[in-house]
Each structure stands twice: as structure tokens, then as C-alpha cells.
Amino acid sequence: MATETSTRSVVPQGTLYRGREGMWSWVAHRITGLLIFVFLLVHVLDTSLVRVAPEAYNAVIETYKNPVVGLGEAGLVGAVLFHAFNGIRVMLVDFWSQGPRFHRQMLWAVGALWVLLMVPFLVRHLSNVFGG
């Protein structure tokens, strides 16, 4: 029986499946969701420090004021924006009768909205981060 199961086991698969917009938007939705979760975890921890000691909270927040975290913040906003708009798209695919038909156009709309909001945000945010 042992040999039987070993021969029937799923063989390691070869190449990556070459899905299209639908699959990659789903992958991006998962990744941005995970990133936001990690941020929220840290965020809850550092904010709860204020209950321990306001000085400790201030000390931690002070360490965030550097370009590396600044870039991370830009990434966070990008992730939140994509996750939010794509989430609306996924809901429309599920609940709007024409959703499955226009899913690709809706993804382009998500991308356009994302760029539209990210460009002014990045200009303002990065000039704060690197402008000193």
C-alpha cells in the first residue's frame, strides 16, 4: 500500500500557470491583504504602547521617522488602495448581474483610480519624507 500511495502522489508540477488579469488580480489581492494584516498587527502593538507609557509610544514613533519607513508607508497606502478598489470589483463581480462580463474593464478602472490617487499622494508624501 505504501508503494501504491507513493506512485499516486501528486507529481511536482512544472511551470507556473499562465493565468490572465483575473488570476493576477486575485494574487495581488491576497498579497496586499497579507501586507495590510502585518501592518495592522504592528500598528495595534505600537498604538497599545500608549497605555503602557506615553514616553515609550513617542520613542517608538520617533524611530519611524526615516526614509525606509517612509517608503514602506508609500507601499502601505498603495496596498490599501488596491485592496479596497479591487475588493469593490470582486463584490461587483459577485453581486452585479453584468459583473462577470465586465470584470476586465473593472480591473482597468481599479488601476486607473489607483494611479490617479497614488500620484498626488506620492508627490506630497515623498517630498515630506525626503524633503526633511
Binding site: 507513493s6 512544472g14 459583473g99
Partner: protein, 285 residues
């Protein structure tokens, strides 16, 4: 066939002889195009193509170590009109008889030869070699998510198990009518799209949810449930909806649209799943 007809056929065969022998072998060196040896107008181009095939055989196991899948490349000369299935046949018949794959009708009707060609699920009998960039090696792999038995052959049993569970047959109550069960054109059109399924598993094995969760019913089972749920003659919609209301039913769908892209019959699979979801929410079909 009349004698004039057969003469015409022979004459056509003579003309073809310039490029191709009776057994389909080229006269010139392999890979020489028809135009290169002074071919005529309308001649079918011939070219060399390399297929990179994912091979696996349980017999390769040695000393208790399980067999491993490997890539193997074959180069064949094909016509511009040849499909990937023709190239696989050429390999099996002329180079390596151990190459294993399924095919029955070879014309896109039976759904036996679903495989992954250049990374996406396709029927090998419906894809022309010239359409999948023959300049680079064409990768051919078994469909994902089902246990590989040998080379491109997978165990379809989990797939058909899900299909059986949605009860893909007419369920009625009361006396059988003495005439046919009538239906308007609009009622028939309601489920027309999902009647086209040939159970090739291209959709189910393209689904990222199915790859990681083999318990998921998968697009094909939902499509075939849809075909009866929205049939006005059928009375088993509630039972089928209840089956698909399961944790592993329609709610597992993450709308990646891989199934709709993969379907060789052009069924709007994600739309069908969407309609079943809506029927479950509104409890009306």
C-alpha cells in the same frame, strides 16, 4: 464516389507529392520549408518545432525512491496546419512510443486531451502549433490538481466524483408524460451555455482554489449543476443548490476567471457560477 471524383482526388494527391510523401514525410531535409524547394502557391509551410514535455512514470522509481517528473525535449517537423496533438502523435509514432497521453475523437468533441500547453489549459486537438509561438520550445504538461498517472495522463476520478455529486440528470416528480416535456425557446436559452460542457476538466484544473483544495467541487461540476438548476423541466434545483451551498461548493469560487479563459467550448464558466451564487442568495432560479 464517381470515377471523375477519384481522378480529381488523385490529381490533388499528385500535386501534394511535391511537398509530402504518401506517409506524410517530407522529401527534403527535415525543416526545409516548402517555399525553399521551389514550392507552389498555396503550399502548406513546414517547419521544425521543439516540444518540451513533462514526463513521469511510476516505473522510474529506484530502490524505494519514488519516481520524479522530468522534462524531455523532442523536435519534430510539422505542417502549418498541424495541431499540438499531431505533433504529439508524431513523437509517439516515430520517436518514443512510451509517451503517454489521452485522446479519443481528436476533434474537440470528446474532451480527452486537455493538457497544459505553454502554461495554460487547452485541448491539444484544438491548438495549432503555429499559433503557440513555434520559435520557442512549446511546453506540454499534464493538467494541474489531479494525480498524474503517467506523462500527460491524470487520474480523473476526483473530477468525476464531484460531477456525480451534483446529480447531472433530469429529476422530476409525478407521472411521466406521454409526450415530450415542452419548453419555450426562452426557457431553453436560459441554460444553453452550460449544455456545451464536454467534461475535459480544463476549467477545474485551471482553478487556483482547486489546486490547493481538492475537496472544492470545481467549475465543471457547478456548470453541470447549472445546466439542470435552470432547466424549466427539472424539479431537483433545490437539492442541487443545497449540495452547492456547502463549504466546498460555489462559495469557494474566488472569481479568478481562469476557468472561463480555459474552457475550449467558450462557456462563460464564472458567469454560470455567479448565477448559481445568486440563485442561492435569492432562493429563486
Amino acid at each position: 464516389m464517381s470515377s471523375t471524383d477519384s481522378e480529381a482526388v488523385e490529381a490533388a494527391a499528385d500535386r501534394n507529392d511535391e511537398q509530402v510523401d504518401g506517409d506524410g514525410r517530407p522529401h527534403g531535409r527535415a525543416g526545409e520549408s516548402a517555399s525553399a524547394d521551389g514550392g507552389q502557391l498555396g503550399a502548406i509551410p513546414r517547419f521544425d518545432v521543439t516540444l518540451r514535455i513533462r514526463r513521469y512514470s511510476a516505473e522510474d522509481a529506484e530502490d524505494g525512491k519514488p519516481a520524479e517528473a522530468r522534462w524531455q525535449e523532442f523536435t519534430v517537423t510539422v505542417n502549418g496546419t498541424d495541431r499540438v496533438l499531431d505533433a504529439l502523435h508524431k513523437i509517439k509514432w516515430e520517436q518514443d512510443g512510451s509517451l503517454t497521453f489521452r485522446r479519443s475523437c481528436a476533434h474537440g468533441v470528446c474532451g480527452s486531451d486537455a493538457m497544459r500547453i505553454n502554461g495554460v489549459n487547452r485541448l491539444a486537438c484544438k491548438v495549432l502549433v503555429k499559433d503557440v509561438n513555434p520559435d520557442k520550445p512549446i511546453t506540454v504538461e499534464p493538467i494541474k490538481g489531479l494525480p498524474v498517472e503517467k506523462d500527460l495522463v491524470v487520474d480523473m476520478e476526483p473530477f468525476f466524483q464531484s460531477y456525480r455529486e451534483v446529480m447531472p440528470f433530469l429529476i422530476t416528480s409525478g407521472h411521466e408524460p406521454t409526450r415530450e416535456r415542452k419548453q419555450s425557446q426562452e426557457e431553453r436559452a436560459r441554460f444553453d451555455d452550460t449544455t456545451k460542457c464536454i467534461l475535459c476538466a480544463a476549467c477545474t484544473s485551471s482553478c487556483p482554489v482547486f489546486w490547493t483544495d481538492g475537496q472544492y467541487f470545481g467549475p465543471a461540476a457547478i456548470v453541470n449543476a447549472h445546466r439542470f438548476i435552470f432547466d424549466s423541466r427539472d424539479e431537483g434545483a433545490d437539492v442541487r443548490l443545497e449540495v452547492l451551498n456547502d463549504r466546498e461548493g460555489v462559495w469557494r469560487c474566488r472569481t479568478t476567471f481562469n476557468c472561463s479563459e480555459a474552457c475550449p467550448r467558450g462557456i462563460q464558466v464564472t458567469k454560470a457560477i455567479h448565477e448559481v451564487k445568486r440563485a442561492l442568495l435569492t432562493r429563486s432560479v
